[in-house]
């Protein structure tokens, strides 16, 4: 009875238009999560390492954008390309300096190094950029609102999923149909045998970090456009959530990361929309989802079976 009343309440506040509005918001947030989650999953796939610095690389991308547009007045379309390149390079530098020297060390050492790299980037950002939040420069082109029937949609809400889907297909093509992609898949299974094939594994791993970081850069810039305030620690919570998205989808699996990202994004928005009294628990949703997945399907939705024919 109580449940029925409860559902009635939801139906009263939720018109089909509103539902669509929330759904588009959820899809757009999910796309952002997906873009960043891919970076976690790719690095995990190739190194069995959780790259804790990934969320901070995402944060760095927003600052690169800020300085490029606000300080150097570089037009946004040039900025976007520059930031993607710079962030990709940053990811490769982090890999070469914090992870590569520990390639043969026990896994715990490299994990600690990842946490160190994360703190370093965060504190560097506080020292260099200042701790006070900055306003992200959002060109009107992206933020304009238009109406579809009675649903008001920001252009960005459409742009984000479209960009994410295009990048996802480009990434899948790269991984499944190019020589470098084949090398990445081989290295992710067996470093030593990949070396025997003549694959330069350092280069392949570096490339993986570069691509993951470039996707995080796109995610970061669009995040900035959507939530136009940036701060040195802004990467921590989205970083954790995207990591959760990767785990939920099955870490190591790119499609899984995308699915996890969408589940998280849509779930979070719908939770707040349907049960406004739970708004304060918005962030908790991700962690509850993580616990549920770890309890019932530890390898994630698309996770590979551990058993393998020897």
């Amino acid at each position: 009875m109580a449940l029925k009343l409860f559902l009635q309440d939801i139906l009263d506040v939720m018109t089909p238009e509103m539902f669509l509005q929330h759904l588009t918001n959820g899809i757009s947030l999910g796309s952002l999560y997906a873009l960043v989650a891919i970076g976690y999953t790719m690095v995990y796939g190739i190194l069995r390492l959780i790259n804790f610095a990934h969320g901070d690389i995402f944060m760095m991308a927003t600052y690169f954008t800020f300085y490029s547009i606000v300080m150097f007045s570089i037009p946004w379309y040039v900025t976007f390309i520059l930031v993607i390149i710079m962030t990709g390079a940053l990811g490769m530098v982090v890999e070469a300096s914090a992870y590569r020297p520990l390639r043969d060390a026990p896994r715990i050492s490299i994990l600690i190094s990842a946490i160190g790299a994360s703190f370093l980037l965060e504190n560097l950002a506080i020292v260099i950029f200042g701790g006070r939040p900055k306003a992200f420069p959002a060109p009107e082109l992206f933020t304009k609102v238009f109406m579809v029937g009675s649903v008001s949609v920001q252009r960005l809400t459409i742009i984000i999923p479209v960009v994410a889907v295009v990048l996802l297909f480009a990434l899948l093509y790269l991984i499944n149909n190019t020589k470098s992609g084949m090398a990445m898949r081989a290295v992710s299974k067996d470093h030593e045998t990949a070396r025997l094939m003549g694959v330069d594994i350092d280069r392949t791993i570096s490339l993986t970090f570069g691509i993951g970081s470039m996707l995080a850069a796109v995610g970061g810039m669009m995040w900035g456009l959507k939530f136009p305030q940036i701060a040195p620690l802004m990467g921590v919570i989205p970083g954790l959530k995207c990591f959760i998205a990767a785990v939920v989808g099955g870490i190591g699996n790119i499609k899984g990361a995308v699915i996890g990202g969408f589940i998280l994004g849509i779930g979070e928005i719908m939770l707040v929309a349907l049960l406004p009294s739970l708004t304060g628990y918005r962030d908790a949703f991700a962690f509850i989802l993580l616990i549920m997945i770890l309890l019932f399907k530890p390898t994630g939705i698309m996770g590979e079976k551990i058993t393998e024919k020897v």
């Binding site: 898949r185 067996d190 030593e192 025997l196 024919k309």
Partner: protein
């Protein structure tokens, strides 16, 4: 072609190789036999640069290999079929073969070599779209050998290609080794199946706990009493 001189390799203070010297002449089949832990695999792994030796030298066509990275050694025409096959289970059969030719850029020749590998192992052609992880053990071994051939090696090294395979398949694998050799590829073979290995080998080395204890042609070693006792399971004749 390949010359190893007083090679010493140690893993964390334990010497796996205690100064071995051996030579592989071009166009020959050379085999290394010996028990588990004798250092056979370590020898091959040192040649391709997966293990960094403590001292000694490895030269290939007069070139020092010790300072080279694995990918350059492969590019120079040496390839290793690793112990336990180690095919990439998440890649298709065709992709496994393609990654064997990773260092090459001569696309038309790669296509020819692919056809050659398919003619040696017709089953691989049938299964080219299957994931390598779904192949049987024998098929995976064929794939591992085929993959190595795709780098068009001048020196093909094999680490226990018969391990864990049924006798009939082992015979097939040895036939293929002879066939590859007839095509002009030099072969360095590690085997526990000493009998089969010595029968096809021009020259053999017997290893024991990091040292080479006996050398000779395949026939000489087959006739050697110690070898017979230790590796061929025959009692010494009185």
């Amino acid at each position: 072609m390949l010359k190893i001189d007083s090679l010493v390799v140690s893993y964390g203070g334990i010497e796996a190789l205690k100064g071995i010297s051996l030579e592989v002449e071009a166009g020959k089949i050379v085999t290394l036999i010996g028990a588990n832990g004798a250092g056979k695999s370590t020898t091959l792994r040192s040649i391709v640069g997966l293990v960094k030796p403590k001292s000694g030298s490895i030269t290939y066509k007069g070139k020092n290999l010790l300072t080279e990275k694995t990918q350059n050694i492969v590019r120079n025409g040496i390839t290793l079929v690793p112990e336990g096959r180690r095919v990439f289970p998440n890649l298709t059969v065709l992709e496994n073969l393609k990654i064997g030719s990773f260092t090459r850029t001569d696309d038309t020749n790669i296509k020819q070599d692919l056809e050659w590998v398919y003619s040696l192992f017709p089953i691989l052609k049938e299964r080219s779209w299957q994931l390598a992880g779904t192949l049987s053990g024998g098929e995976q071994q064929m794939l591992a050998v085929g993959r190595a051939l795709m780098s068009r090696p001048q020196l093909l090294m094999m680490d226990e290609p018969s391990l864990g395979l049924a006798p009939l398949i082992v015979r097939g694998i040895f036939e293929i080794i002879k066939e590859i050799h007839r095509q002009g590829v030099t072969i360095l073979l590690i085997e526990q199946n000493a009998n089969a290995a010595l029968h096809i080998a021009d020259f053999g080395y017997v290893m024991e706990t990091g040292r080479i204890t006996l050398t000779g042609t395949g026939k000489e070693l087959l006739a050697n009493e110690e070898v017979k006792m230790a590796y061929l399971g025959k009692k010494a004749e009185k």
